[in-house]
Every structure is written in structure tokens, then in C-alpha cells.
């Protein structure tokens, strides 16, 4: 009797693993990246590679540039955009702030970039579109 029960229980164990496998297959098909969808911020990196592509081509292969954005560098989105810009422009380093002679402007709304740069005493060297600008400190 006990042996029979053990036998059925073992088959129950196999069945459980099969159901788990089937359910996981369904999940992979229906909702790839289910945890990313609920827990992560949007993927800025792939679009950024295109946005910053032209700027990267004209930058020197090494150096430190300032970084100006309309988003707070302490909020999730501001931090994410800053890190993503750094990733796209590496090995050039981005230091948030305006201490450097040249500054990268990264604006979520392209229309406010010019005004924001002017407010910080910066002039536009080149506007690459989509909110990406190369800025320079205005000569006194």
C-alpha cells in the first residue's frame, strides 16, 4: 500500500515538473521579458546609440566633457539618460555639471535646449537634432 502511494507520488512529482515546463514555455512565447516590463525603466541605450552617433564621430577619442540635461541628475530618468549618454560616448568621459570648456547637451525636449544652454552661459557649437547638442562656454 505504502509502496503504491510512493509510486503515485513520484508520478505526481514528474507531472508537476511537466506542468512547470509547459507553463514556462507558454510564458516565454506570450510574455518575453515579463520582469523587465514591470520593473525596468525604458531602454534608452539603443535609441541613444543613434542619437549620439554623429556627435561621437566628431569628438576626440579621449577627454572629459560636461553634461547638461533638462532632467534632474538625481531622478531615475535623469540618471538613466546621463548613464546612457556616457555609455554611447565612451571612452570620452561625461562629468555632470558645467566645469568643462565643452559640454554635451542632452534634452528630452529639443525645443528647450537652446534656452537652457543660454541660461547657463553656454553657446551652441552644433545641434545634432533629437535634443543632442555640443555646447561651449560663452567667451566673456
Amino acid at each position: 500500500m505504502l509502496a503504491k502511494l510512493r509510486h503515485y507520488m513520484a508520478w505526481g512529482g514528474i507531472g508537476l515538473l511537466l506542468i512547470m515546463g509547459a507553463r514556462a514555455c507558454w510564458m516565454q512565447l506570450a510574455h518575453p521579458a515579463p520582469w523587465a516590463a514591470v520593473s525596468s525603466l525604458p531602454d534608452w541605450v539603443a535609441p541613444n546609440e543613434l542619437r549620439f552617433g554623429e556627435l561621437k564621430r566628431i569628438l576626440p577619442s579621449r577627454g572629459v566633457l560636461g553634461y547638461l540635461s533638462n532632467l534632474s541628475p538625481t531622478g531615475d530618468e535623469g540618471v538613466g539618460r546621463w548613464y546612457a549618454a556616457q555609455y554611447s560616448l565612451a571612452p570620452v568621459q561625461l562629468a555632470p555639471g558645467l566645469d568643462c570648456e565643452m559640454v554635451v547637451g542632452d534634452f528630452s525636449d529639443p525645443s528647450i535646449g537652446t534656452a537652457l544652454a543660454a541660461n547657463h552661459g553656454l553657446e551652441i557649437v552644433r545641434d545634432f537634432g533629437q535634443g543632442v547638442m555640443l555646447l561651449r562656454r560663452k567667451k566673456q
Binding site: A10, G21, R23, M27, P32, Y83, A84, Q93
Partner: protein, 464 residues
């Protein structure tokens, strides 16, 4: 793409030769999975040494390659090598088919996530791939500059080092390199788990173990997201699996134990948490081996393990003293401030409740994966008489690592709720393949429990 493939070929050859030289008795699948990961780790170590010394990485790699070739040539063909029996019983064939189907679906899941996030998710691009972009240039020291302190310059270099090494040889920044690396570790973990359990408990059990890991979408997704937690989980699993294989099948093999030491070291070269793995595995394994095999045997085996661990740990320590910045979680704080956090009951409560919630929600497929494993063990029963050293080692290592992770969360300088909500699930993920290995190693072979025809192989024959 072709350059990337050739760039990856040398590390793979190096790893395969390393595994072949140290553990020629392992099955082909196990050798392939372990070889790929070991090769990635060794090349990364060579690349780091080349950065520090200014010598080309190829010199270190070719020296290692020549050494392994020499060892392989000098080693006489091992007597009584276990030939892989390819004839499967009907039950094994069915379990194999289920495993293949689930693995294919997980491959689809991996590809889907990769398509959505080709650069990986946050930690991957903001830490490892960013560092690789610096290391691949002549200005690699800038990766450790103050301006990039947010990118955790204290993290070890296994992943960025390997990716940068291949990028240097191709001259580009191909996304295929970190993606391929993530692929090797994700599916290598499934291969090592299935292979090791098959060698110890029979093929059906091996296929079932592989099926459960492949049916953990949380694991597959994090692998495809290029997070370092999956490579670390690989090395944690490989260390425990190799120690178990050595203990049962080749008790006199120095090579398998040495390879286990290399894998433990590679864990420490992947993430800081890997150092915790080294710190807990060695004493737990030693205690278990002393208790079961006696002091003399245990000491001899620890010597072999140290032979593999030592050189890799040396590289990790060299990195710590030459390049790494202070760890943001633990560094720069006195014992007093750590004790204040450690004795705060609120922080213990937050971590405890987060752990409880997580053990209920971890990789929730239809019920959570832990519950599935526990119910399975209750259903088939346990039987670990011949694997006592391996089971005690895995159990102690998993438990102590988990305790260590909890303490690290409690003393974290960041908001405790944020820390536990963002880190704990991934810390648990690092141990998940090892937990599955422990579960299936402890479980009664399924043919035995379900009264099915049982094929006697060397591994399961010794385990019964």
C-alpha cells in the same frame, strides 16, 4: 561578425584544453559547457595581466595554451574512461524530449529579450559593457576615474575583460560579443546542471533538473539581459558540481578538484559576491570532507582545490590592489557604523519579510519555483547516502551565502527597502542553479521512486 567568431574561438579552445587537461573523464557536454566558461575566464585574466604589464594578451594566452597542450599530450589516455552510452531507455528518451522542448522555448525567450535589449539591461550596459568600451581602448585607465565612480569601478573584470579582449582583436564594438558571452553562461548553466546530475543520479534525473532550470524564465531573462548574476551562478554551480563529481566518481582525481578551485576563483573574478562563495565553500566542504572522509583525505583535496583557486584569486587580489576603487556597499565605514546598522531590528525585519515574500514569488511560473522543488522532493523522497559530502557542502554553501547576502543588505548604506527590492531577487538567482543541483542530488532517482526501468551507469550505480 566573422572576426568576432574568430576572436571567441581562441578562448573557447583554451577553456576546452584546460578542462581536458584537468578533467579528461568528464562527459563531452560537461566538458563543452565548462570549457566555454573557463576559457572566457582565463582569457579575461590574461587580458587584465596584459593591461597591468603592458605585454600583449596573446603572450599569456599562448603560454597557457601551450601548457594545457603539453599536459594533454603527456597524460596517458586515462584507463577505464567512462564511455558515454548513447542508447537511451524509453523513459530517458521521453525526459530528454521534454528537456529539449523546454530548452528550445527558453532559447526563444533568450532571443526575444536580446532583441528587446541588445545592449543588455541597466547593470549590463551601465557597468560591464561600459567598462568594456573603455578597456578596449588605449585609454583603459579612464574606466576607473572619479567621473565614473557611479559605474562601480570596484567590480571585477571577468565580463568586461573578456568582451574588451575580443573587441580589441576585432577592432570594433560588436554587440554579438556580450550577447554570445551571456548565451554561453545561461545555457552553459543548464548544461552543467543536467550533465552533473545525469552523471550522479542518472540521465532522467539530469534531464529533469535541466528542464526545471530552463523553465525558470527569471533566469533566462536575466541571462539574456547580460547581468553578471548568471555567470556567477554558473561558477557557483560548477564549483559544487565538480566537487560532487570528484567525491563520488573520481576521489583520487586532483584535476577535477583543481578545476573546481578554478571555477570558485572565476566566481570571485565575476562579482564581489563570488568572494563570499569562496569564503563559504572552502570551510563547509572541508568540514564535510573531514567528517565523512577523514582529515588526511580532506587536507589533500583542499590542497588540490587551492592549486586551482590560488592563481585566479591572485589575479583578483592584484586587481583589488592596483585598479579597483573602494566597494560602495562596505568600504570606508568603521565597525561602529556597521554595528549600528547590524543591530537595527527594523532592517532585519525588512530583509526578513522581503526574503519571505521573495521565496513565495521567485520566478512565479504557476506556483513559485521553490515550492515546485520542495513538492518534487516530497513526492519522490530523498536519498543522498553516497553523496553526503556533496549534499552537506551544497547545503552549507547555499545557506551561508544566503545569510551573507542578507547581512550585506542589512549593512548597505542605501535605503534598505530600495536595496532589498532591487538586489535580493538577483542575489537569490545567483544561488538558484546551485539550489536545483542540491535538490536533484538529494532526490531519489526518479526511476527508482516511480518504479520505472532503470539503466545502470557508473554514476547512479554507485549512488544507489
Amino acid at each position: 561578425m566573422i572576426q568576432a567568431i574568430t576572436g571567441i574561438a581562441l578562448p573557447l579552445a583554451l577553456g576546452l584544453l584546460c578542462v581536458r587537461a584537468s578533467a579528461p573523464n568528464l562527459g563531452v557536454a560537461l566538458q563543452a559547457c565548462l570549457g566555454a566558461a573557463t576559457g572566457i575566464g582565463l582569457v579575461s585574466c590574461c587580458f587584465f595581466l596584459s593591461l597591468i604589464t603592458g605585454l600583449p594578451s596573446l603572450i599569456f594566452e599562448l603560454t597557457l595554451l601551450a601548457t594545457f597542450l603539453l599536459i594533454c599530450r603527456r597524460k596517458a589516455a586515462p584507463s577505464g574512461v567512462r564511455r558515454t552510452e548513447f542508447a537511451l531507455t524509453a523513459v530517458e528518451a521521453m525526459a530528454g524530449a521534454v528537456f529539449a522542448i523546454v530548452a528550445l522555448y527558453s532559447l526563444y525567450g533568450f532571443a526575444s529579450v536580446t532583441r528587446l535589449y541588445p545592449h543588455g539591461q541597466w547593470d549590463a550596459w551601465a557597468i560591464h559593457n561600459l567598462r568594456a568600451r573603455f578597456l578596449a581602448t588605449p585609454y583603459w585607465r579612464d574606466a576607473f576615474s572619479v567621473a565614473l565612480i557611479w559605474s562601480h569601478p570596484d567590480y571585477p573584470l571577468l565580463l568586461p575583460g573578456f568582451v574588451a579582449r575580443v573587441w580589441r582583436s576585432t577592432g570594433g564594438r560588436e554587440l554579438s560579443v556580450p550577447i554570445a558571452t551571456a548565451f554561453f553562461f545561461t545555457f552553459g548553466s543548464i548544461g552543467v546542471l543536467a550533465g552533473a546530475v545525469a552523471a550522479l543520479k542518472g540521465r532522467t534525473q539530469g534531464f529533469l533538473a535541466g528542464t526545471v532550470l530552463a523553465a525558470t524564465p527569471f533566469f533566462i531573462e536575466h541571462g539574456a539581459s547580460q547581468y553578471a548574476d548568471v555567470p556567477l551562478s554558473f561558477f557557483c554551480l560548477a564549483t559544487l558540481a565538480l566537487l560532487a563529481l570528484q567525491d563520488r566518481l573520481w576521489p583520487d582525481s586532483a584535476g577535477v578538484t583543481l578545476l573546481a578551485g578554478v571555477c570558485a576563483g572565476m566566481g570571485a573574478w565575476t562579482k564581489n559576491e563570488g568572494l563570499l562563495l569562496v569564503a563559504v565553500v572552502v570551510p563547509v566542504w572541508m568540514l564535510a570532507a573531514v567528517r565523512v572522509r577523514g582529515l588526511r583525505t580532506a587536507l589533500q583535496q583542499v590542497r588540490w582545490f587551492a592549486g586551482g583557486l590560488g592563481p585566479v584569486l591572485g589575479v583578483v587580489l592584484l586587481f583589488r590592489y592596483t585598479l579597483a576603487t573602494q566597494n560602495a556597499n562596505l568600504g570606508g565605514r568603521g565597525i561602529g557604523s556597521l554595528m549600528v546598522l547590524l543591530t537595527d531590528p527594523y532592517r532585519w525585519r525588512v530583509v526578513g519579510s522581503a526574503l519571505l515574500k521573495l521565496s513565495w514569488s521567485f520566478s512565479n511560473v504557476f506556483v513559485n519555483s521553490f515550492t515546485v522543488l520542495v513538492i518534487y522532493l516530497i513526492c519522490v523522497g530523498v536519498h543522498w547516502k553516497k553523496d553526503r559530502v556533496a549534499v552537506y557542502t551544497a547545503m552549507g554553501s547555499v545557506f551561508l551565502s544566503l545569510a551573507g547576502y542578507c547581512v550585506a543588505c542589512i549593512v548597505s548604506p542605501y535605503d534598505i527597502v530600495w536595496q532589498t527590492s532591487t538586489a535580493l531577487s538577483r542575489l537569490l538567482l545567483q544561488l538558484w542553479p546551485a539550489m536545483l543541483f542540491l535538490g536533484f542530488l538529494a532526490a531519489r532517482p526518479i526511476e527508482d521512486a516511480a518504479g520505472l526501468p532503470f539503466q545502470i551507469t557508473r554514476g547512479n550505480a554507485q549512488g544507489r
